[in-house]
């Protein structure tokens, strides 16, 4: 008898069209990856990073006609992992006349002191400042030829265009309170419309009219698919259960006021928690996480100063697909995450304060930031729980799960015991991918 390898039948993949159902786990797997990548980035605005608050303009600093080469100096806006090169159209024409595939490799610029491009005759020399200047050296003959060919006047700046490092595709960029959003699609709505007025108001609460100052940047590697983090962030329900730090100090419970605000498209949300009305919370009695003997030795971690005319102590704003704006007590942070592999995600934390902080307030923010970040008392669990989920669902590829807490809709609610924002994320993701 000859043993033959058995060919496994491909499992039927389906996803019932109910909002309260999480997708089957195969949507996290590699099988659907090509679909995501071909459909997703084209019609979506992704967060790129903070605009550099700088007075330095994109300028043509010197233009040496006498030398054998011409140095064009641009400012490379540091927008996350995909730095964009702002150039004038006529300069772009010249560059494209020299070579139509000018590629500015942002990550290389940051790591290499010099990045020569001998074939194209220009050199990228990043400096050490936050924004990167790119002196591009082009042979004078090439410039002259290009000008003759393209018939463009050299010294007439018109508008600012962008060459990104993917090549000639245009990245449409807009800013909102200093945050940079970008998209490759002409169909993406304006960012204000995409976010919706209710969520936009929460942006303005923290960022509106304030000059911010970055006080720290850290990258955390998550051992899970990006969508597991994307649904963790807007989930208003898990904090009191997973993050035992607050529960241990009887500081945060679901009966405390607050609830999610969800944008009309479902993809953007705000989760808020109001300040407790009593100092010692009795409702934790009997919960496993409560230890009566456990008290903070340094209570300055909880020393909150209300900076806004409301009682909101924790505010998590999420913008589909990859942005989180956080204000926890007096700590403020931007998070954005980038898929690096099917089961690997980079989560970037950008801590910030206001430029006009008093030294006392800045110290307070630094202390409160212990609650967030890769080693945060509260956010630490979010870094590992996605990996727990990946391991847990490994054997249930074709199964679905129910996220039915707080009904089946994606509307704003007045309680934190709801999964409305999680359903909102999945419903928008589903509409975009067509799965």
């Amino acid at each position: 008898m000859v043993l033959r390898p058995v060919r496994l039948m491909r499992q039927e993949r389906s996803w019932p069209r109910k909002q309260a159902l999480m997708p089957p786990t195969h949507t996290l797997g590699p099988q659907t990856k090509p679909t995501h990548q071909s459909r997703f980035p084209c019609n979506q605005s992704a967060t790129l990073g903070f605009r550099k608050f700088s007075t330095r303009n994109n300028d043509l600093s010197h233009f040496d006609e006498n030398g054998a080469s011409v140095t064009l100096r641009f400012t490379l806006k540091n927008v996350g992992r995909a730095p964009a090169l702002y150039v004038w159209p006529h300069i772009r024409s010249i560059l494209q006349g020299v070579d139509s595939h000018i590629a500015v490799r942002g990550e290389l610029c940051q790591t290499l002191a010099r990045f020569p491009q001998p074939r194209h005759g220009f050199t990228i020399v990043p400096d050490q400042s936050h924004s990167i200047d790119l002196p591009i050296v082009i042979g004078r003959d090439q410039i002259v030829k290009s000008v003759e060919y393209w018939k463009v006047p050299l010294l007439l700046p018109i508008i600012v265009g962008i060459v990104d490092y993917h090549g000639p595709r245009q990245l449409r960029v807009t800013t909102l309170h200093g945050l940079v959003f970008g998209t490759f699609s002409d169909d993406t709505p304006a960012i204000e419309n995409f976010i919706g007025p209710d969520v936009l108001a929460r942006f303005e609460r923290v960022l509106g009219g304030r000059k911010i100052e970055i006080i720290g940047r850290f990258v955390e590697v998550l051992p899970n698919n990006w969508k597991l983090y994307a649904e963790n962030a807007p989930d208003s329900y898990h904090a009191s259960l997973l993050h035992l730090f607050f529960a241990t100090f009887k500081r945060n419970r679901l009966s405390q006021g607050g609830g999610p605000v969800v944008s009309p498209n479902g993809g953007c949300s705000v989760s808020e928690t109001l300040a407790p009305t009593e100092t010692d919370d009795k409702s934790y009695a009997g919960m496993r996480s409560v230890d009566e003997d456990y008290n903070l030795k340094d209570m300055r971690l909880m020393d909150v100063v209300d900076e806004h005319p409301d009682r909101i102590r924790h505010q998590i704003v999420t913008v589909f697909p990859n942005l989180v704006l956080q204000k926890t007590q007096n700590a403020m942070a931007i998070r954005f995450f980038t898929p690096k592999a099917v089961d690997r995600t980079h989560l970037e934390w950008i801590y910030f304060g206001y430029a006009d902080d008093t030294p006392e307030m800045r110290k307070r923010r630094l202390r409160h930031l212990n609650l967030g970040g890769p080693a945060g008392f509260v956010s630490m669990e979010d870094g590992c729980v996605g990996g727990f989920v990946e391991r847990g669902i490994a054997t249930a590829e074709a199964e679905s799960a129910i996220v039915g807490m707080g009904g089946g809709g994606i509307e704003s609610q007045a309680t934190r015991a709801t999964e409305a924002a999680v359903r909102g994320f999945w419903s928008l993701w589903r509409r975009m991918t067509g799965l």
Binding site: H130, I214, I215, G216, R217, F218, V219, E220, V221, L242, L244, F245, T248, S289, D291, Y294, L296, K297, D298, R300, L301, Y351, R362, K363, R365, L366, R367, L369, N370, G373, P374, A375, F377, M380, E381, G383, C384, V385, G387
Partner: protein, 149 residues
Amino acid sequence: MSVLLRVAELNAAYAATIDTDRLESWPDFFLEDCLYKITSADNHKRGHSAGVVYADSRAMLQDRVTALRTANIYERQSYRHIVGLPVIGENGAMASRPKRLSWLRASCATDAPICSPLAFISTGFAVKPAACASSSVWWSATAVISIRC
């Protein structure tokens, strides 16, 4: 005992406390009024003041250990300590810090994420104060603790 040996002994004792999981004794290496910050070489270079862990009192370090033991959930961790031979400077020699940091970056340049609740790495750099009562004073006043992420 020479200053060099005393600082080296202090560094060794500090690392041994962590290696043997006597974390409750770890805050005793610091003064009541101290600064313990875990940051990256990149943040240090840019002058960013925040840390992955930021504690400006011994009590905050004790809270870290208590949270690690009782409240937080995390993947199982194992620690690796890197302790260099101390360089003893004179008063005002703090300008040497960046050099020590770049040395540290070269020593542990890795893409490993900071996912541990506590990370303990000492560059082994100390400045000799004008009047030093005990070795723990030096530590709390001058420890440069940093890892690169």
